[in-house]
Amino acid sequence: MAKRTLVETTINNETVELLCEPRQSLLEVLRDELHMTGTKEGCMTGDCGACTILVDGRPVCSCLMLGVEAQGHKLETIEGLANGTELHPLQQKFLENAALQCGICTPGFLMSAKALLDKIPRPTEADVRYHLAGNLCRCTGYDKIVRAVLEAARENG
C-alpha cells in the first residue's frame, strides 16, 4: 500500500482530517474514503460534470483534483446543500419541475447551479445554459433543468 498523507480540509463547514494516497482524486477520497457518495463519477476526465463540487465557492470537477490538493480549502458537496431538513430552493425547484429523471447528474447540476446563483442571483436563460454547459444530462434534454434554475432564481430574489 502506497504511503498515505494527512489532509486537513473543510467539507460542508466541518473540519475534516483524512488520510489518502496522493494518487487518489478528490472524488475518490470523497467516495472511497469518506463514503460521501452523493458526488458521482461519470467520466474521470472532466467532461461530464457529474462530480462537480465547490472549492472555495467555485465549481470544480472533483475527478480532476487530487485529494491532497484539498488541504486548507473549503469544499461544498451535495450532502451540504440542504440546510438540515430544509431543502435549498434549487433542490425544491428541481423536484417541482421534474428536472431529473435518473438523477445521476443531479448532484453535479445542483452544485453548478448553486455556484451560478451565488455569483449571479438573477441569471438569464443564456447565463443558466452557459453555466451548466459543463454538466451533461442524457435524460432530460436540459429543458426542465433550465426552467428549475430560473424559477429558483426568481423565487430567491
Partner: protein, 289 residues
C-alpha cells in the same frame, strides 16, 4: 494510476529545489486538468508531482502601464476572466481562457499550464502568440526568457528542461488603437477541443494597419505564429482584400492532419474562415480603443 508523491512548495526557491532534486521524475501540477488525465492514461508517468499553486510568484496578475502585464503561470482561467484589467487590455486572451473546457475546468486550469502541456490545440497559446508574449522560466541555472511561439517543440514537448519552472508570462502593453481576439471552431458549442483556433492582434491608424500578429492553433504539430500572413497586413489599408490575402497566407502556412476532430482539408478551410473572422473582431475592438 501508478503511485506518486505529492509536494506543495510555498516559495519559488523551494519549488526549484524539489524540481532540481527529482529532475525528470518530477512534473509541476497546476490546475491538473491535463496532467491528471495523462497520469491515469499512463501517457505521462512522473513519480513526483509538484503543486505550484501555493507559490506567490506564480499566482499574481500585475499590470503596469509602461512595462505591461506579468501573468503568473498558475493563475486560473476564471481569475483571468474576472480580472477587469485583463478584460480591458487583453480581451482576446480572456476569451481564449474563457473557452477552455467548462467553468469547472476554468476554475482550475491556468494559461501557464495550458502552455506547458504543449498541445498544438491549446486555446490560450495562439492568443499569447498574437500578443507577442514571452515566457519567463526559472531553473537551476537561473532565469531565461522564451518567446511563446518558440515554446512548444512538438505535441506534448516544450523547451522546459528538467528542473525548470514556468514562472510567468510577460505581455507588452497594447498600443493605442490596438486589440486582440481569439476564435476557435468546435463541433458543439462548449466543451470540445479546438478543431482550429486563431488568435490575432491588430493595431490600426485610421484605416491603415500598423501592426498585426496572427497565430494558429491545431493546424500543425505546434501552435504557429503566422508570420507571412501577419506581415502582409502591416502598412496596408485594412480592408476586405487585405483580410482575404492574410487568410490565404495563413492557410498556406497551416499543415494540418486528419484526425477524429476534423480532416486536414476541413481544417485548412477553417483557418481561412477563422482568420477572417478573428481579424474582423480584433479590428472592431481596435477601432473602439
Amino acid at each position: 494510476m501508478h503511485a506518486i508523491q505529492y509536494e506543495a512548495p510555498t516559495s519559488l526557491e523551494q519549488a526549484l529545489g524539489i524540481l532540481a532534486k527529482h529532475g525528470e521524475k518530477a512534473r509541476p501540477l497546476c490546475g491538473g486538468t491535463d496532467i491528471l488525465i495523462q497520469l491515469r492514461a499512463g501517457t505521462r508517468q512522473p513519480d513526483y508531482v509538484v503543486d505550484v499553486k501555493r507559490i506567490p510568484a506564480l499566482t499574481g496578475i500585475k499590470f503596469d502601464a509602461k512595462s505591461g502585464l506579468r501573468l503568473g503561470a498558475a493563475v486560473s482561467c476564471i481569475e483571468i476572466f474576472e480580472d477587469q484589467t485583463m478584460r480591458r487590455h487583453y480581451p482576446g486572451l480572456v476569451e481564449a481562457a474563457h473557452l477552455i473546457g467548462s467553468l469547472q475546468i476554468q476554475s482550475r486550469a491556468s494559461v501557464g499550464g495550458n502552455l506547458c502541456n504543449g498541445s498544438p490545440a491549446a486555446d490560450t497559446t495562439p492568443a499569447l502568440i498574437a500578443l507577442g508574449a514571452t515566457a519567463r522560466l526559472a531553473g537551476p541555472k537561473g532565469e531565461r526568457q522564451v518567446k511563446v511561439e518558440d515554446f512548444v517543440l512538438s505535441p506534448g514537448r516544450t523547451v522546459i528542461q528538467p528542473g525548470e519552472l514556468l514562472v510567468e508570462l510577460l505581455i507588452p502593453v497594447p498600443a493605442r488603437h490596438a486589440a486582440d481576439a481569439y476564435l476557435r471552431f468546435i463541433p458543439r458549442n462548449e466543451m470540445d477541443i479546438a478543431v482550429v483556433g486563431v488568435g490575432a492582434s491588430i493595431t490600426l491608424d485610421g484605416d491603415k494597419c500598423t501592426a498585426a500578429r496572427i497565430a494558429l492553433g491545431a493546424v500543425a504539430p505546434t501552435p504557429l505564429y503566422a508570420a507571412k500572413a501577419s506581415q502582409a497586413l502591416i502598412g496596408k489599408k485594412f480592408d476586405a482584400a487585405a483580410i482575404e490575402n492574410a487568410a490565404k497566407l495563413a492557410i498556406e502556412q497551416a499543415s494540418p492532419i486528419d484526425d477524429m476532430r476534423g480532416t486536414a482539408e476541413f481544417r485548412r478551410h477553417l483557418v481561412g474562415v477563422l482568420t477572417r473572422r478573428t481579424l474582423e473582431r480584433a479590428a472592431e475592438r481596435a477601432r473602439r480603443n
